[in-house]
């Protein structure tokens, strides 16, 4: 039996096993069909839509809605990976993204010439990714020392502490002004800040992140991580190093968030303490929960809804009341559909196809 066939067999078994239990494995593993025939119609449709979208939509929509949703979705994807598959809800993912953004501003070029070192962009980005990944792993190491509900408290405390550090510190983080004019480099004669190139840049990395997470979830590491989520003691007894696995998951999530953070700082063109402030820490959670934490697609759907609400809430109601809308939507989702919009979709599907003996799964957040 080849490795791939063996892995498929294991996964199919895992899916079947999970169906019978209350804790249901993620959607794609509950359907072994998806593994046998990985490319399906809706994949093609979504990919085509993503590629056609910038040519149809106006530059404003491409940049403001398309690129922003994808960048935010990538950061939220890191939280979905941690929360949905590792069972660790970290509120500090935006902090990791913020650290990456700050590092791009510090090592690269920005409007604040006194602090920015002005190193070549590739070096700055590489250092930013490395430092942010390390920071993510460090936050993970801190928070995995305690379990479950404590994680959310510790990561929130770390995130808010970082926000206050940026706000207070002159010499490195340039207090409340942060770094302005942090732009992507001009490469191959293309200005990557223009809507069309930037959209494709973000799309590329979002797809890369999406498929990376999808791959990882089927790899032994991902399977073990889901095992740890469901029963850490049993995994420990099986000889897995639970703490090391969790910290590694934080490092992986940190890297994904860091990539998203670099893209986001290029999108905004600036980074300030508020970019990693409490409201953004929580917004990432909102995005992840809104979409649903049971599939890597969830954060991107959540991000699109979030950005659309953010952009068009002004037309519906007062601009200032955006928080009320997003808070209300989040509350409604948490109260009535803990699996987010994907869960809502699955519930509707289940209702119309009337599959007997298969109750709506309650995975994800509980």
């Amino acid at each position: 039996m080849s490795t791939a066939a063996w892995r498929n067999a294991i996964n199919a078994g895992a899916g079947r096993l999970a169906m019978g239990k209350v804790v249901v494995a993620p959607l794609q593993e509950a359907k072994p069909r998806a593994i046998q025939n990985p490319v399906r119609l809706h994949h093609v449709v979504v990919l085509a839509a993503l590629l056609v979208f910038p040519w149809v939509a106006s530059p404003f929509v491409t940049f403001q809605i398309g690129a922003q949703s994808l960048a935010l979705g990538l950061i939220a994807l890191s939280l979905t990976f941690l929360g949905g598959y590792g069972g660790m809800i970290s509120l500090a993912q935006m902090t990791v993204a913020g650290i990456a953004g700050y590092m791009v501003g510090i090592f690269g070029t920005s409007g604040t010439a006194e602090i920015s070192l002005g190193w070549p962009w590739w070096l700055g980005v590489a250092l930013a990714l490395a430092i942010a990944t390390l920071a993510g792993a460090f936050i993970g190491w801190l928070s995995v020392r305690t379990e479950g509900i404590y994680t959310i408290m510790i990561t929130l405390a770390v995130g808010v502490a970082f926000y206050y550090l940026c706000l207070q510190n002159y010499s490195v983080f340039n207090v409340f002004q942060g770094f302005q004019q942090v732009h992507p480099p001009k490469l191959f004669g293309i200005n990557w800040r223009d809507p069309l190139p930037f959209y494709h840049l973000v799309l590329f990395w979002s797809l890369a992140g999406y498929f990376f997470v999808k791959y990882l979830l089927r790899a032994p590491f991902g399977i073990a991580l889901q095992g740890i989520r469901d029963n850490p003691r049993r995994m420990n007894a099986l000889g897995f190093h639970v703490t090391a696995h969790r910290v590694a998951a934080y490092a992986v999530a940190g890297f994904i968030a860091a990539v998203g953070g670099v893209l986001l700082v290029w999108y905004n063109g600036l980074i300030t303490p508020n970019s990693a402030g409490t409201s953004w820490l929580i917004n990432i959670l909102i995005i992840a929960v809104l979409g649903g934490m049971r599939h890597p697609m969830g954060p991107f759907i959540g991000a699109i809804v979030f950005v659309l609400l953010q952009t068009f809430a002004i037309d519906l109601i007062d601009r200032e009341r955006f928080n009320l809308v997003i808070g209300g939507v989040f509350l409604a989702i948490v109260l009535f559909s803990p699996d987010g919009l994907l869960g809502l979709w699955a519930a509707l599907q289940a209702r119309f196809t009337r599959r007997s003996g298969f109750s709506t799964p309650i995975g994800g957040i509980r």
Partner: protein, 315 residues
């Protein structure tokens, strides 16, 4: 950990702190002691707010991230009551009651329908905190509201040794913090409801099995915990100021106090509050741009050596 290592780490912590204290006293005695008093009075406020947080957490495993919003709500209520009636004591009572009622409403209308779902409850509190914060901005505005101390606590306390003068109001916070601590201790250790709460912290299922109406105990605890946040809000409205954003600051303080002190322990909240309050004030006085780093270092050290907090016990 062997005795040697305990001594070793104790010395590693104590020696630099003692060295700093000696240097600071020698350098500027007055500044050092005023900072100490400032730190302790801030600790008192932190303790009052965080003890409510830890009480709710200990019993219900509910991380109430709307605690900061309740603080702000209590503060605003106190502000308007004091403005209307002119009595500070009434303002304190109103702040406590307003937050307690909102907390009670949260418990009765939402949390009792999702028992045991810690994470979902926490997410609900996040949603509520966003909504309450925005409603407060909508209704009251984002301007700074500063409440003045009552007449009998206004002005400085004069003719003190070393520091010469100190704000009466701030000085009064020290005994108030101790009083609240003692009252909480008496309530938890000497009353029937307190006994039930303690039993619930240890084993909720067992408490329910003995025939106690657990929902009732939860509701009382939640009301008291939220009320303490509101009470702290009124105190903070004078000591600090009321402005959107303070809710996050006090939430962060509560989180760190509770993580450092040990989750679910009221005594731990006292220890954590003193550590955080003094560290923060000394940081601001002696190294302003890095003060939050000290807070963070404390958090890291405690988590590294005592993951459950200084006085924490296994859940």
């Amino acid at each position: 950990m062997s005795k040697f290592w305990k001594w070793f780490w104790g010395l590693v912590l104590v020696v630099p702190l003692a060295a700093f204290a000696i240097w600071a006293i020698w350098d500027n005695t007055k500044l050092f002691f005023i900072t100490l008093l400032n730190g302790l009075t801030l600790s008192s406020l932190y303790f009052i707010v965080a003890s409510g947080f830890t009480l709710v957490f200990g019993l219900m495993r509910n991380v109430n991230l709307a605690h900061g919003s309740l603080y702000l709500l209590g503060g605003y209520t106190g502000y308007f009551v004091a403005e209307a009636t002119g009595y500070f004591v009434l303002a304190l009572a109103a702040g406590f009651l307003a937050a307690a009622l909102v907390g009670l409403a949260m418990q009765v209308s939402i949390f009792r329908f999702m028992p045991g779902q810690d994470l979902r409850q926490t997410m609900v509190t996040i949603g509520l905190s966003i909504i309450i914060a925005d409603l407060l901005i909508w209704g009251i505005g984002a301007t700074v509201h500063q409440m003045s101390a009552p007449d009998w606590l206004a002005g400085p306390l004069r003719d003190l040794p070393v520091i010469t003068a100190y704000s009466k109001y701030r000085m009064a916070l020290l005994p108030l913090g101790i009083l609240i601590g003692v009252l909480l201790w008496l309530f938890l250790n000497r009353t029937r409801v307190g006994m039930m709460i303690r039993a619930g912290v240890d084993d909720r299922a067992m408490l329910a099995a003995t025939g106690v109406n657990v929902n009732m105990v939860f509701a009382v605890t939640f009301a008291i915990g939220a009320g303490l946040a509101g009470f702290g809000g009124v105190i903070g409205a004078v000591e600090l100021s009321m402005v959107p954003g303070e809710d996050v600051r006090l939430l962060l303080a509560s989180l760190i106090v509770v993580i450092v002190g040990g989750m679910g322990s009221v005594t731990g909240a006292g220890v954590g509050a003193i550590i955080l309050g003094t560290a923060e004030t000394y940081g601001l006085a002696y190294a302003p741009t890095y003060s939050v780093v000290f807070t963070f270092v404390i958090l890291v050290l405690v988590l590294a050596f005592r993951p459950r907090g200084i006085l924490g016990r296994p859940a």
